[in-house]
């Protein structure tokens, strides 16, 4: 095995441009794969977040008393679909607003507690319960508006589905493309080394001895591409984390769990070995006839 590795290293060193081209193709393939996986995992986490927090928010009209709010809260607590209710007073709303916009003094100056309405956040057992609870709340005369985040869940479900389909198709296409590039490059190298192969054959080299360096070479291109893609994608994610965190608000996606990234690396390496190995085995079977 160590001899096959040293033969593979020699093959790679002898044709550095082909090696670079193969590694770059694998890098682009795995970069696309990792970006789609990160997007899919992120949207899935966001979806789960919204699904796990099914909430209806009812905003109260000006002049609503504590008694009115308590009456509505009491009525809702009788509902088995409701798991929790939380009253957010005008002052609480201002506090939340201030917290969210603490970096923008101009926005803070413009808003007072009087502008912001008091509200009631109602959590339900499942997202399907939201619409029913919203209908009850809409009938209350003190309620000015009801927000149901069902649309968010629906949109996120659609987005996740699209990412999966588009990502899957793109990555599938790139995997096939990368495999074919490996077949082409290893095939080219086999032709380039036909003299050496002929000599090794006459010296009594076994088929596996002649073939294994080419297979290892294909695997190397896959692994090199996957590792580089992982480093770049992790680097990009790390760099953009502060920027993205502002958009995501309460959805705890970032910073990405290192265990997730390690699993992504492990999975990618496995796939890289598979794609590189498959491409080089196909090339060896196609172009390297040993007798």
């Amino acid at each position: 095995m160590s001899r096959a590795v040293s033969f593979a290293k020699r093959n790679i060193r002898r044709t550095p441009f082909q090696a670079l081209a193969a590694s770059m193709v694998m890098f682009l393939t795995f970069l696309a794969l990792m970006i789609f996986i990160i997007l899919a995992a992120g949207s899935q986490t966001a979806l789960r977040y919204f699904e796990s927090k099914p909430q209806v928010i009812a905003f109260f009209k000006e002049g609503t008393t504590d008694t009115d709010v308590s009456a509505i809260e009491n009525a809702l607590q009788q509902e088995t679909r409701v798991t929790n209710t939380k009253f957010v007073s005008k002052e609480d709303a201002l506090q939340i607003y201030r917290e969210k916009n603490k970096s923008d003094p101009a926005l803070l100056e413009l808003v007072t507690a009087n502008i912001l309405p008091a509200s009631l956040e109602i959590s339900t057992q499942t997202p399907q319960d939201l619409q029913g609870i919203a209908e009850i709340l809409k009938k209350e005369p003190v309620v000015s508006d009801v927000i149901v985040p069902e649309d968010v869940v629906q949109t996120l479900t659609q987005v996740t589905g699209i990412i999966r389909v588009v990502g899957g198709a793109t990555v599938g296409f790139l995997m096939i493309f990368a495999t074919l590039v490996i077949v082409m490059i290893i095939g080219f190298k086999i032709r380039l080394k036909r003299n050496e192969i002929e000599i090794m054959r006459l010296l009594g080299a076994s088929s596996s001895f002649i073939r294994s360096p080419f297979i290892l070479e294909g695997i190397f291109y896959g692994v090199a591409g996957a590792i580089l893609a992982w480093i770049i994608s992790y680097g990009l994610l790390w760099y953009f984390t502060p920027f993205l965190q502002g958009y995501l608000g309460e959805v705890k996606l970032l910073p990405v769990n290192p265990l997730f990234m390690l699993a992504l690396l492990g999975g990618s390496l496995f796939l890289a070995c598979f794609v590189g190995g498959l491409g080089s085995i196909a090339a060896v079977r196609r172009y390297l006839k040993i007798q």
Binding site: R3, R10, R14, N195, E196, E198, I199, M200, R201, L202, L203, G204, A205, S206, S207, F209, Q291
Partner: protein, 224 residues
């Protein structure tokens, strides 16, 4: 050691070998001579199992090469060293690495390779050239390297296909003397050539082939 029993090889309608019957004993030095296209190289290539005869049987060291399993061919080839007219050295490997390749394909340990290659390169007198690449060698040095590569695995037989074809007469004699010395250690040598001077001076067994047929087989023969 080597027995050709009614061996024929046909390429299309042409007979490259036509009913060859030949026996070579262990330790013999045999010249296979004849004009170009007579079938000398084909004969040697049947011995390395590069070519399968159309009919007949070839036995090398008791092994019927026509019936050998594909997976066993590499093991069989390790018993047969080959030297070519154009040396067939690998340009990107040094003299040492070219010779070591024989043992590397046999999966020998690094220590054993180092020892055997050093010993062989000293035998063929190119130890001081061990770090040079083939393009830096003279024809004679390149052929000595090729011979070293052929014998480093201690084969029972060495097949030399026109080993002096690309060399000047003086260098050619050096190569022949080296092959003669290897033969004196007990290695069987079959050498295809059409160099009359070498054949006639060395006075060894001569097998003449013409149009795929053995026309003459004589001990201490002559080639005219």
């Amino acid at each position: 050691m080597i027995i050709f029993n009614s061996v024929s090889k046909r390429f299309g309608s042409t007979f490259a070998l036509d009913n060859i019957n030949l026996e070579v004993k262990q330790g013999e030095f045999v010249f296979i001579v004849g004009p170009s296209g007579a079938g000398k190289s084909t004969l040697l290539r049947t011995l390395t199992r590069e070519i399968l005869p159309t009919s007949g049987k070839i036995t090398v060291g008791g092994v019927d090469t026509t019936k050998i399993k594909t997976s066993d061919i590499p093991l069989f080839r390790r018993k047969v060293g080959v030297v070519f007219q154009d040396f067939k050295l690998l340009d990107d490997r040094t003299v040492f690495e070219n010779v070591a390749l024989t043992l590397e394909v046999q999966d020998k340990s690094d220590e054993e390779i180092l020892k055997s290659v050093e010993h062989t390169l000293k035998l063929v007198e190119i130890w001081d050239k061990r770090n040079l690449f083939p393009r830096q060698l003279s024809g004679g040095e390149a052929q000595r390297t090729a011979i070293a590569r052929a014998i480093v695995g201690k084969p029972d037989v060495v097949l030399a296909d026109e080993p002096t074809g690309d060399l000047d007469p003086k260098t050619a004699w050096g190569v022949i003397q080296l092959l003669n010395e290897i033969n004196s250690w007990g290695t069987t040598i079959l050498m295809a050539t059409h160099n009359q001077e070498i054949v006639n001076t060395l006075k060894r067994r001569v097998v003449i082939i013409k149009a795929g047929k053995i026309t003459k087989d004589s001990k201490e023969g002559k080639y005219e």
